[in-house]
Amino acid sequence: MSSEELQNTDTEARFEFKKEESSAFEAEKGLTEETIRVISEDKNEPEWMLERRLRALRVFQEMPMPDDWPGAPDLSEVDVDEIVPYIRPDIDARGGADNWEDLPDEIQDTFDKLGIPEAEKNALSGVGAQYESEIVYQNMQEQWEEKGVVFCDMDKAVQDHEEILKEYFMTKAVPPSDNKFAALHGAVWSGGSFVYVPEDTTVEMPVQAYFRMNSDGMGQFEHTLIIAEENSEVHYIEGCSAPKYSEFNLHSGGVEVFVKENAHVQYSTVQNWSKNTYNLNTKRAIAEEDATMEWVSGSMGSKATMLYPSTILKGPGATDNHITIAFAGEGQDIDTGAKVYHNAPDTKSTIESKSISKDGGRTNYRGLVHIADGAKDSSTAVECDALMFDNNSTSDTMPYMEIQESQVDVAHEATVGKIGDEDVFYLQSRGLDDDDAKQMIVAGFIEPITEELPIEYAVELNRLIELEMEGSLG
């Protein structure tokens, strides 16, 4: 899909529609050991995976809610028992249909509106589209398959790549004990993507997966596992959007990324969950010697987001870059940031955060930089800029720095300000109206983020912001 075509799509229509539910299997409401067993059995999982799920369930039941953080979003409405953890769309082909045409019309229609196949045809090397909890469409262009690159849904990976999953799945990067919602995820996870890039392999085009939730009261718990072997390179894109519902939704995904020696992984997300979704994710990367991890995150949707992608710089010379943008409108509380652990010498990290709050929305940058004793000659630079539109909104910045090594270079900077009257006036004097002027200023404000994304995503991000701002200014 060309950027021009995408521009002409009615953005509102693309993000505000909802399909009739039609599911083959719907788990009983509520979360019990029995529910977990049903999920596992229905997926025909090996015994070890069932055991991991049950262990995670026990951790979940024991852990407290993260409600003692200063300024944490209100999660009191999150009632896990009300979430149907697992819904499998009514399709025959488990593990994804191989051809777009084989998908049910309704699902095709949903993804058509999101522009998936066009995007794939044009630029993307593989698309895993998740409708409800399972990957229903999988495709990997042949050229990558020949090189040994694996891109498949996680349920398939449990069957086909059992040994790798046994080693990596929620054992090293995101153990269920990390936080209550990671534990929940470990118990009820379903769907998601598995990406394996062999040594010395560069995946030149981005790998993309699109997630959607489309059932009332449904939680989505997809798991993404990316392993980039030595000297490999891959860019993974995750996009999320869900239609609006009256009942609340819970999204609690898990992402684990292993960046081996001298490998390079970029993980990009544009999140546009509906305004009643609680988006509570755990994302973590482990970077080995001279590896580079890059997180690019746009948080536009959801009622409340708590998301702090983190990287453990385990090997000497490893690098981590975060670029994050948060946009909170009416009723939204976007609490997001980054965590970096410098656990080896000569490691570097940068965090660049941009947030915009308007119409009573709240953004908070919450970040942690930890430099361990012995991580000599490490450096970190954190920059947070916030733009506020009005007096009902809130913009908070809460960075935490723990520095246990003296031979380091640590810098943190943050600014908060309103949209500049003079800038708006200047643009108006050039013939733009107030709304357009402000949109242009916002587009400029977030440009450092958009320029990191492939053109389709950058355009989509700009369109989403345009949509957020339409009619609410003036």
Binding site: D373, S393, M401, E402
Partner: protein, 414 residues
């Protein structure tokens, strides 16, 4: 946790402290209420990140070294023309109504466990009263602690268009009794506890500069809250130097309540050996056209550890706010640790706010340059450390405070 002290604190002790100071009934009441509240109060908040508490206050073991009736201390109070600098008993005699009105109006006497403990037990008190229009410099209060525990309270009132610069010094007296009588077996030998609460009220167009230099012995645990209210066009400026103590938990705060009010909070610390400084600068913008500037610089040597929290809170009625914060830490040793959390809480968009924080070591190039000019490396490092404090020292208007701070820094470098 909060029940631990109770065992050896009684109402009778509190009554004795109060009657020794000839306090009126309302003050005794304040103390007894604070004592009673101890049971339900929590320790002051400390920053928590996954798996870590930045300061462990529970390790204080207050019941072991707080002796409420051992109150030995010495105070020098140097007043300036037109300013009344009064001891607690005398102040109550002369300004009872004013004190009753202001006591606890800035710092909640039951804000947390340690503040309530201070309210119940303070025996050393000072009131600095600056009547309308009086302009004074060089008010000095020097406290020497000669006991195992000491609870100090200071109230500063500057009336309309008054201006005052105050210097407070806290040190341990040479005649200090050997603390911890039973230290031989309870493991608390040599430990002391100092607690200080300062309330400052600046009326319309009044200026208060309050400089404090803390140089207590390194067996002392120290808890301090300093908080000011600034009225319209008023200013409350703080300077806080921390050199001594084994553990300091200190918060310096200003509420900008009046239109056009301002606050500057300047902090300096220099930790060595196993010292732990947990310091905070906090400002609340609650009116239009207010300005705040928070500047802290600290140096850490040996296994010393610092925890810094800075808060700039802009309320939704604080139109046209300017708020700035800078924190810089210099680490001289690999064993030291510097934790920092500069926070912005912004609820009004008509704000220009920024903060920055850095942690680093002595710049190699600076050092190389100086060594190449014939200065040996140790002297060069010392000079760079002294230079590091210059931006903070420049903010100090009281000569004695600046000189003392400089002296203490260079003594520590020897």
């Amino acid at each position: 946790m909060s029940t631990q002290v109770h065992a050896n604190l009684t109402e009778e002790q509190v009554q004795k402290i109060s009657s020794d100071l000839d306090e009126p009934q309302w003050m005794l009441q304040q103390r007894l209420e604070a004592l009673e509240a101890l049971e339900d109060l929590e320790m002051p908040k400390v920053i928590r990140t996954p798996g870590r508490d930045w300061t462990n206050l529970d390790a204080l073991e207050f019941d072991r070294f707080v002796d409420p009736l051992d109150r030995a201390q010495e105070k020098d109070r140097v007043d300036a023309e037109g300013v009344e600098v009064l001891g607690w008993a005398e102040a109550l005699e002369e300004h009872s109504d004013l004190i009753e009105e202001q006591f606890g109006s800035v710092v909640d006497p039951q804000r947390d466990y340690l503040t309530a403990l201070s309210t119940a037990l303070f025996s050393a008190g000072t009131v600095i009263y600056v009547p309308e229009g009086v302009v004074a410099e060089d008010v000095k209060v020097r406290t020497r602690m000669n006991s195992r525990s000491l609870f100090n309270y200071t109230l500063v009132i500057a009336e309309q268009s008054a201006s005052v610069a105050i210097l407070e010094r806290q040190s341990t007296g040479e005649e200090s009794v050997a603390p911890a009588q039973d230290g031989a077996f309870d493991g608390t030998e040599g430990r002391r506890y100092y607690s200080g609460v300062v309330e400052a009220v600046a009326g319309e167009n009044a200026h208060i500069q309050y400089g404090a230099l803390q140089n207590l012995t390194e067996d002392t645990y120290n808890y301090q809250v300093k908080r000011g209210h600034a009225g319209s066009y008023g200013q409350v400026n703080w300077i806080e130097g921390n050199i001594g103590t084994r553990l300091t938990k200190s918060s310096v705060e200003t509420r900008l309540l009046g239109e056009g009010s301002e606050s500057k909070i300047v902090g300096a610390f220099f930790g060595h050996e196993d010292q732990h400084f947990d310091v905070a600068s906090r400002v609340w913008h609650e009116a239009e056209h207010t300005t705040a500037d928070l500047v802290t610089r600290g140096v850490l040597d040996d296994e010393a550890r610092s925890v810094y929290e800075g808060v700039q809170d802009v309320g939704d009625s604080a139109w046209s706010t300017n708020s700035y914060q800078r924190e810089n830490t210099l680490m001289l040793s690999d064993e030291s640790e510097a934790d920092a959390s500069p926070k912005l809480i912004i609820n009004n968009h008509d704000t220009e706010a920024s903060h920055s924080a850095t942690v680093g070591q002595v710049d190699d190039e600076d050092l190389l340059y100086m060594v190449s000019r014939g200065i040996d490396e140790e002297d060069a490092t010392d000079m760079l450390v002294e230079g590091f404090f210059v931006p903070v020292l420049e903010e100090v208007a009281v000569d004695e405070l600046r000189d003392d701070l400089e002296t203490l820094v260079s003594e520590r470098l020897d």
